[in-house]
């Protein structure tokens, strides 16, 4: 068998390949040769073959068949073999490979080898990629080498110990004795790696941290020597002595001084010295200054020192070197929370960085600018940020837009400014805004009552210019639907009112419906807006025509809406004005993130919506369970009583979700949090409309559910328009006995296919002799249209003695559930 070709030959040959295919062919040929050579167990050329294999591995070709060969090389006595073998192990044998552990014994032997370079190889391999098991097995050897006087081995052992601790933190304790006099070494390599080891230990264990605090004076002394000592050719970098060591010591001091007054006190002087004396003309000096600043900001330094640190960062911001500007912005971002005022002083420089050409710097500057916005500088800052939004790359637009919205929400000096700002964002970066910005903006507009005319005018004008930005179009159509009457009447005070006719407005909205640029959601908005205008504009026929056309639209959502609006025109025309009237003011109960919108009007109290947990329930809960036990069936569902006007319990929540699909009020369905709360408004609104109640109630006859012992309970029905699956039952309890019935509690249970919600009763006392009634509202959801059945339980106290009764109600009129 001829000698395998040399490594350099192979590399030369492969580099002559002109195509990928040619290269692949050469490599396959060579791999085959190497494989047969391995099979022949050729000791002489093994290292040559493995070296070639490593080269091919670097090109991206598989080399796993060489793993065992690496092990054989490591076990060899020749230094050349070991060197290549360990290199191969580090490249091919990471801890996920099965054969990884086979190295352990070899490494153990080599750690005790007579030649320090062999020991060094073993330490290096262990320290770069030793697995946890290997580290456990060999930690003792490493610890021994940590105490040797040979500085070449000691520094390697220190970093190897760092790796062991990272892999197996429990072994940290065993290295503690060896660290005793690490810092008294003169050798910089050992010093540096010792500081790294100490840093690792202090970061992982508060006990170690406390233990090593006593080293602060020693560290300070070493640092001082480095700074004050003269030129040392061995460690000099551009006039600074061993910057690597200086930075590591500063980092360790940072950890030791954090939240400890005494240690921080002890380092104040040296930090001030480093901060003022370091040469800043080269990158090295700035690297040390950077670390110093980070340390000053983290420990309990005196205020003068902190000011010095921030000023250094300010100087960095003006530096020509981009890297230093970047680093300054990053550090300022970290400190802006704690030292806000100091950072504010550099605001103008930071804002200038927004115009930098470098992408990384722009991003940091943007984040920092948003952190610096406050009530005082909002106008100026927003101008700069909006200008940035106009001109920045698309990758920034989404974040910038969100940031602008948040800042505007927190610090808007006036409503008009707020609306103007949001409009500016929507027109310049409309396609990049987050989904929930549309409902947020709508809510904001609704609340700024005096700005309605101005807002709708501006939005209309924006629509005339450009209908491609969906969020803008959605908000605009919603507004035109709501405030179209203000638009045509030309009532705007804030700016010159424009003359626009009803037909022109309808042209625009119909244009949105047919345009290819409009998303499905947008089309839904515009159809609803057109519908709303039927009560605000005089020309209804055109709207009726549009609505009926879309009754046969392919888009199911549009079709459903159109059909229902059509029904409004035909069968429920009397209800149309009430349904389509102006939206009331919505109050936000939480800002940022999903908005919980709660409707407030005179009657109901505002409450925080918590859709995850049912509202606090008092004793009815266990009584409901009793009910279930008594009824003993699997086919009944207990009812949780709720108090008005809190959000209904989960049963009711699902109830309302069904209603949420239909947004007669024009609120968009995609925003889930809005959808769940809007319907409650819808339902509340509807049930408080006397017109609606009378008409619907007449459709279903009332019935007597229970009549015993002087207690009579009547049911009256309403249908919750437009969802025919929900029946709203009002019970009227009357008492014909001579004494009042006190502590009156009414409970109900329905079969499993139904869902039931009980609202609060009007009172707990049913007055005697039919002088008054207690009413309570029940809502029943009956999606499967099954026959309505109910079991009721009544408890009350009559003349001092408690009375309890159960009854079944089966005589529901068919109209109540069909």
């Amino acid at each position: 068998m001829p000698a395998p070709i040399r490594l350099r030959e192979l590399i030369r040959t492969i580099r002559t390949a002109r195509t990928q295919a040619e290269e692949r062919e050469m490599i396959q040929k060579e791999c085959a040769a190497i494989r047969s050579s391995f099979r022949e167990e050729d000791n002489t050329y093994r290292c040559r073959n493995v070296a070639k294999l490593l080269y091919m591995h670097m090109l991206g070709y598989p080399a796993h068949f060489g793993q065992l060969e690496c092990l054989k090389l490591i076990a060899s006595q020749k230094f050349t073999d070991k060197r290549i073998g360990y290199l191969g192990a580090m490249l091919l044998l990471d801890e996920r490979q099965d054969v990884h552990l086979l190295m352990t014994n070899c490494i153990k032997n080599d750690l005790n080898h007579s030649t320090q370079y062999v020991q060094g190889l073993a330490l290096c391999t262990l320290g770069c990629m030793g697995s946890s098991e290997m580290c456990r097995d060999l930690a003792g050897e490493v610890e021994k080498l940590l105490k040797t006087s040979n500085s070449y081995l000691r520094k390697k052992a220190a970093l190897c110990a760092v790796h062991v601790i990272r892999k197996v933190p429990e072994l940290m304790e065993m290295f503690l004795p060896a660290t005793k006099n690490l810092l008294s070494e003169k050798n910089h390599g050992v010093l540096h790696t010792s500081v790294v080891l100490l840093t690792e230990m202090c970061e992982r264990s508060p006990d170690m941290l406390a233990h090593f605090r006593k080293l602060v004076p020693q560290l300070v002394r070493i640092l001082k020597n480095l700074i004050m000592s003269g030129y040392s050719p061995e460690h000099d970098v551009s006039g600074i002595s061993d910057p690597f060591l200086q930075v590591r010591i500063l980092r360790l001091l940072r950890i030791l001084g954090k939240s400890d007054d005494d240690s921080s006190e002890a380092m104040n002087d040296i930090l001030a010295q480093v901060a003022t004396n370091t040469e800043t003309s080269k990158n090295v000096g700035n690297a040390i200054l950077y670390e110093t600043v980070l340390t000053i900001m983290d420990i309990k330094s005196e205020s003068g020192l902190r000011v010095l640190a921030i000023n250094i960062l300010g100087r960095f911001l003006l530096n020509n070197d981009k890297n230093i500007r970047y680093v300054a912005l990053t550090s300022l971002l970290k400190t802006v929370q704690t030292d806000h005022n100091a950072v504010q002083r550099h605001r103008s420089t930071i804002v200038d960085c927004l115009k930098d050409l470098d992408v990384s710097i722009k991003r940091r500057a943007m984040e920092l600018s948003f952190a610096l916005v406050n009530g005082n500088n909002i106008r100026g800052m927003m101008k700069e940020l909006l200008y940035f939004l106009d001109s920045c790359d698309p990758e920034f637009k989404a974040d910038c837009a969100s940031g602008v919205f948040l800042a505007a929400e927190k610090y808007a000096p006036s409503k008009r400014w707020h609306i103007d700002t949001i409009m500016r964002v929507l027109t310049t970066a409309g396609s990049y805004v987050r989904d929930d910005s549309v409902p947020n903006l709508i809510q904001l507009i609704t609340n700024s009552v005096e700005m309605h005319a101005y807002t709708v005018q501006r939005l209309y004008k924006a629509l005339l210019d450009d209908i491609s930005q969906q969020p803008l179009v959605q908000v605009a159509s919603w507004c035109i639907g709501e405030y179209g009457d203000l638009l045509v009447s030309g009532q705007c005070e804030e700016e010159e009112p424009i003359q626009v006719t009803e037909d022109e407005v309808l042209d625009v909205l119909e244009g949105l419906l047919v345009s290819n640029l409009s998303a499905a959601v947008t089309r839904g908005y515009s159809l609803t807006a057109i519908m709303k205008l039927s009560t605000r504009f005089s020309g209804v026929n055109r709207i009726k025509k549009v609505v009926s056309i879309y009754g046969s639209s392919i888009d199911v959502e549009l079709q459903q809406r159109a059909v229902e609006y059509n029904a409004l025109f035909k069968k429920y025309d009397h209800m149309r004005p009430a349904l389509l009237e102006r939206m009331p003011i919505m109050e936000k109960s939480a800002s940022n993130g999903p908005t919980e919108i709660v409707q407030t009007n005179g009657e109901t109290e505002p409450s925080v919506v918590d859709s995850k947990h049912p509202p606090p329930v008092s004793q009815p809960a266990n009584q409901a369970n009793d009910l279930l036990d008594l009824l003993g069936g699997n086919d009944v569902v207990p009812v949780i009583q709720t108090t008005v006007p809190t959000k209904p319990a989960s049963a009711g929540g699902e109830l309302l979700d069904l209603l949420g699909d239909l947004s007669l009020s024009g609120v968009p369905t995609p925003a889930p949090s809005v959808a769940t709360s809007q319907p409650s408004f819808l339902l509340d609104g509807l049930s408080s409309q006397p017109l609606f109640n009378d008409i619907a109630a007449a459709a279903i006859p009332p019935m007597t559910a229970y009549n015993k012992n002087g207690l009579k309970i009547d049911f009256t029905f309403e249908r919750a328009n437009p969802n025919p699956n929900v029946a709203v039952i009002t019970i009227h309890a009357s008492n014909s006995t001579e004494a009042d019935m006190t502590d009156f509690v009414f409970q109900a249970a329905v079969p499993k296919t139904f869902q039931l919600q009980l609202l609060s009763p009007s009172s707990n006392v049913v007055p005697a002799l039919n002088q008054g009634t207690v009413t309570q509202v029940i809502r029943v959801l009956n999606p499967q249209k099954q026959q309505l059945r109910m079991r009721i339980k009544l408890t009350y106290t009559l003349k001092g003695s408690p009375v309890q009764d159960l009854a079944e109600v089966n005589n529901f009129p068919p109209q109540s559930w069909q």
């Binding site: 460690h235 690597f244 670390e291």
Partner: protein
Amino acid sequence: MMRFLLLFSRQGKLRLQKWFTPLTDREKKKVIRDVMALVLARPPRSCNFLHWRDIKVVYKRYASLYFCTGLEDQDNELLTLEVLHRYVELLDKYFGNVCELDIIFNFEKAYYILDEFLMGGEVLETSKVAVSVSMENADTLQETMEEYMNRPAF
């Protein structure tokens, strides 16, 4: 600590890869692909730092080679530029006016020098002289054994 150190050419050819955390081959390939794409796309006079996943990537171009490393949150980026520069200086001292071809044909030596300078993602030796001396001695050890065995080095 450094998570990895990569050397690659402007054409996207990898010349050296050193990993300080255990990753599968697939993961390594992905990191190489992503980081290379990010770095090679940078315009000439940009800042040497960028953010990728949870890692700070520091890179510097020397002639036709990019030296690129991934840092953790606490690491000092400016100092890492010095670390990369020191490595280039060590290569330069060893090979005498180092160029990309030297690293291609003597990649194992490049790794050996790296292993005398860094270990486990941290700087091992801060003195240029000490690293050069170790390399010389180790090479002597190698040649001595080769001479003894009367065989050519690979």
